[in-house]
């Protein structure tokens, strides 16, 4: 994550160069800047990304979709296989994971799906490279979409207002990560917990600190990425929309890590719901994909299943308890009750991923509730 700040510094330094070159060269300069920086820091990752992209592009270019649409399956599975391989291998050997793999793999799957559906025209290799090698979002997302990126690229022109908006977003990001996340929720709240003699209260503070810190880190780095994008004249999709103001879990997942949850909705939930005609099964599988994207492990499978169950219960409660549901969703006081409820539901579900082993997780729950 610290690398994102380094990328941010490089991005800001390169900014005058990007705005000095003529428009027709600007996208290529942006791509080359990213390629040089990324190749120095993570050559294996660049090699992997470009090899997969080249194979995908060759299949699109030659229109080789074949009988049974083998080409489509290959272009979709090709980015997934290395991701699953490296993430599974990491669980057993604690080796290396190519930098930014999870993000660019999902971008490549998105491009493959959109090309297959015909929503997006087949890109040239340079256009595809420009989309994949976009410095602001390459490390920590958002998983931006190619049609929006291309539109933004075509409209790119100097705008002082957009530039200052970008600087503002970068400042918000720095404050969220360094002050709110690292200092307040990670350091000060933990210190406060250590001075508490009540064990359950200490654990509660730890859980609240972990959740708030996770939000500040994710949202802060996303702010930096969106801000640097704006400074470069490209508007990238939002990733967080005040998730802790959500009044139910369904709304929460429309506000938290929007680019990932909308990816799972478009490329896992919708196809599976159409194929199986069972939206609950599609939801569970989509939430599992969302969880396993973070890490392939038992604790994330548990976390994903838990999130799916919470969304299912939220939807079911509308028919089981219509009065309570209306109170929480529409009454001003009820909305605040809902917000506190959602925050605690999410925070306690995150305990599952906060602990390395199941034994320490069980101990913590015992100390908290019994």
């Amino acid at each position: 994550m610290r690398l994102q700040v380094l990328f941010l510094a490089v991005g800001l330094l390169c900014c005058p160069l990007i705005w000095q070159v003529p428009l027709r060269w600007r996208a290529r300069v942006m791509m080359l800047t990213t390629l040089v920086v990324f190749s120095i820091i993570a050559p294996l990752s660049v090699l992997l990304m470009l090899s997969v992209a080249a194979i995908q592009w060759l299949i699109w270019k030659n229109d080789y979709f074949g009988y049974w649409k083998v080409g489509v399956i290959v272009t979709i599975l090709l980015p997934i296989v290395p991701m699953v391989f490296y993430k599974t291998a990491y669980q057993f050997h604690h080796g290396i994971i190519p930098l930014g793999l999870s993000y660019y793999a999902f971008r490549q799957v998105h491009a493959a799906f959109e090309c297959y559906k015909g929503v997006m025209r087949k890109p040239s290799f340079a256009e595809y490279g420009q989309y994949l090698l976009f410095l602001p979002v390459i490390l920590v997302g958002p998983i931006h979409r190619m049609p929006e990126f291309e539109r933004s690229l075509r409209r790119q022109k100097w705008n002082a207002s957009l530039f200052s908006e970008g600087l503002e977003r970068i400042l918000y990001g720095l404050v969220k990560v360094n002050f709110l996340g690292n200092f307040l929720f990670n350091f000060k709240l933990t210190e406060l917990g250590l001075h508490t003699h009540h064990l359950a209260l200490r654990l509660y503070l730890e859980i609240v600190g972990f959740t708030c810190n996770a939000y500040c880190q994710f949202a802060g780095y996303s702010d930096m990425a969106i801000g640097l994008g704006l400074v470069w004249g490209i508007r990238v999709m939002e990733n967080f929309n005040a998730p802790f103001l959500a009044t139910n879990m369904q709304e929460f997942w429309q506000r938290w890590h929007i680019s990932l949850s909308s990816w799972c909705r478009d490329y896992v939930f919708q196809p599976l719901a159409a194929l199986t005609r069972n939206r609950w099964l599609a939801l569970v599988l989509a939430m599992l994909v969302l969880a396993l994207w973070h890490e392939i492990s038992i604790r994330y499978i548990l976390w994903g299943s838990l999130q799916a169950t919470l969304i299912l219960l939220t939807v079911r409660c509308r028919t089981w308890m219509p009065t309570a549901s209306k109170f929480i969703n529409y009454h001003p006081l009820g909305r605040w009750v809902g917000r506190i409820w959602v925050f605690h539901l999410f925070a306690f579900s995150c305990v599952v991923i906060g602990y390395e082993s199941m034994g320490s997780l069980r101990n913590s729950f015992n100390q908290l509730f019994w």
Binding site: V5, A9, A160, F163, S164, E165, L167, L174, N178, N182
Partner: protein, 45 residues
């Protein structure tokens, strides 16, 4: 922010202020690369 600056200052001055802000932010970003190390020193002091 830029529209707020334009309310009170001329376009040239507003652009100059934005440029100064850009330089200041770049300094802050470079400084913040060392934040983690600074916190570690504080904790172990």
């Amino acid at each position: 922010m830029y529209s707020w600056l334009r309310k009170y200052f001329s376009e040239t001055l507003a652009n100059l202020l934005i440029f100064i802000w850009y330089l200041a932010l770049m300094l802050l970003v470079f400084y913040s690369i060392g934040f983690e190390a600074a916190r570690f020193r504080y904790l172990t002091w």
